[in-house]
């Protein structure tokens, strides 16, 4: 084909293997419904750029910067309009693209011919990122423990000797829990503290009592000797189990005995 005249100011929409393209292929765009999962889908601006380039079957070494920039900006704009929390990195990249675009629009002078292509640094970063993206995929395919094979669990026949168990102080457990609370967000920590321990404990006790195949009489779950407090705790625990759908309550007709059973299909271990 004829050699393409090097006109800096007007880039065609895309150059694929030296051929200028003036109309965009059909499958350029991420469908709008996919926008919601945008931030989950892309591992950052480099990943998004790679996607845009690959979708157009463009040569990474010769990115039509104007078009890619336009698409990239479109996404960033859409992200912002639906108020997704856009990581700052996306905006930094937007600025960089805009800068490269403007530099490419500038006519080049003879005396500055040793200047690099303004895209070179970006291309280098894209290529570098792509290598590790591929490496990550290769790593995921390596056979690994507990997914592709498992280590022997053969039961040892051993001499009767007491092996000392690690000692634990209660405050160590509490310190560990404090750490969790510190790390967990408000939502979770709030949820944790709403429920009282005695109710939680009673929930476990009731669940352990319930038999999968038979009904348990409502009354037998209560121990009057525990006093009013204990009965109330049992009742709250029971309600909590019902609420979390861990147990079912059954009454065949009004005034008939009330039975509790493990939630449909559940079996006690």
């Amino acid at each position: 084909m004829q050699s393409y005249p090097p006109k800096q100011a007007e880039l065609p929409f895309a150059i694929i293997e030296g051929k200028p393209l003036s109309t965009p292929p059909e499958d350029l765009y991420i469908p709008p419904q996919a926008l919601e999962v945008f931030l989950d889908t892309f591992e950052g601006p480099l990943d998004l750029l790679l996607y845009l380039i690959k979708r157009q079957n463009l040569e990474i070494l010769d990115i039509p910067i104007a078009e890619v920039t336009r698409q990239y900006m479109d996404y960033v704009e859409m992200m912002r309009t639906i108020k997704l929390d856009l990581a700052a990195e996306y905006l930094v990249m937007a600025a960089l693209l805009a800068e490269i675009k403007s530099r490419m629009l500038l006519p080049r002078h003879e005396e500055t011919e040793d200047e690099d292509d303004p895209r070179a640094e970006l291309v280098r970063r894209l290529q570098e990122y792509e290598r590790f993206k591929q490496a990550a995929e290769a790593i995921d395919k390596l056979p690994r423990d507990s997914r592709d094979h498992w280590s022997s669990q053969v039961e040892p026949l051993r001499e009767q000797k007491e092996t000392p168990q690690p000692q634990v102080e209660l405050h160590e457990v509490l310190l560990a829990f404090k750490d969790i609370l510190t790390r967990a967000d408000m939502n979770i920590s709030h949820e944790i503290e709403r429920e009282s321990l005695s109710v939680r404990e009673r929930m476990s006790q009731i669940l352990a009592t319930l038999n999968a195949d038979t009904f348990t009489d409502f009354h037998t779950l209560f121990t009057p000797e525990e006093g009013r407090m204990g009965v109330v705790v049992t009742l709250i625990a029971l309600l909590e189990l019902l609420k979390e759908k861990l147990a079912d309550i059954v009454q065949s007709e009004p005034y008939a005995p009330i039975y509790i059973q493990v939630a449909q299909g559940a079996t006690d271990s």
Partner: protein, 204 residues
Amino acid sequence: MQAEQLKRTLDAILLTAEKPLPIDKLVLYFRPEDTVNSQDIREALQALEEDTQGRGFELKKTASGYRYKTREAYKQWVSRHWEEKPKKYSRALLETLALIIYRQPITRAEIEDIRGVAVSSQIIKTLQEREWIRIIGHKEVPGRPAMFGTTRQFLDYFNLKSLNEMPPLADIQDIDKLYPELDFSTEKPTKQEATAQEQPGSEH
């Protein structure tokens, strides 16, 4: 499935089983298209038993099923695995334990959710072997994951009569209040504190 392939498959299953497996459980490891029945399994197990003749382990049948065990003759050497001093429990194990204490009944996925990282099977296994936690039921969600709770042995070890004697969350959070930069209760501080004052259960 061919007899030879069945034998090797059973070999792999038995090698990694954490408890003895009876034939009716072993059948469940196979899909319909494997066309494997109890009789096939019985025969394969017999073949495996013969194969282990010259080895350091054997196929033991007990009341609850089949399991590979090392042979008596080698127990003296095998016991050396446990000659080291007891190790300390990891942070991950203590955090998992704390969550089971305060959030029981709780599934492994829920623990992972709060901790934000995967909980290794080894941790759950260690806690179960120590008899500090046990499976108290299964949650009615896809996969029917096991729910864990604490045991009487756990209470005994820590000299507690009941979980009520565990410090309430308020106390644990007080430690946090010394470090306000941890932005623990910045969002809705009053609601947070109001609830935190409650003793577990006592006000109900």
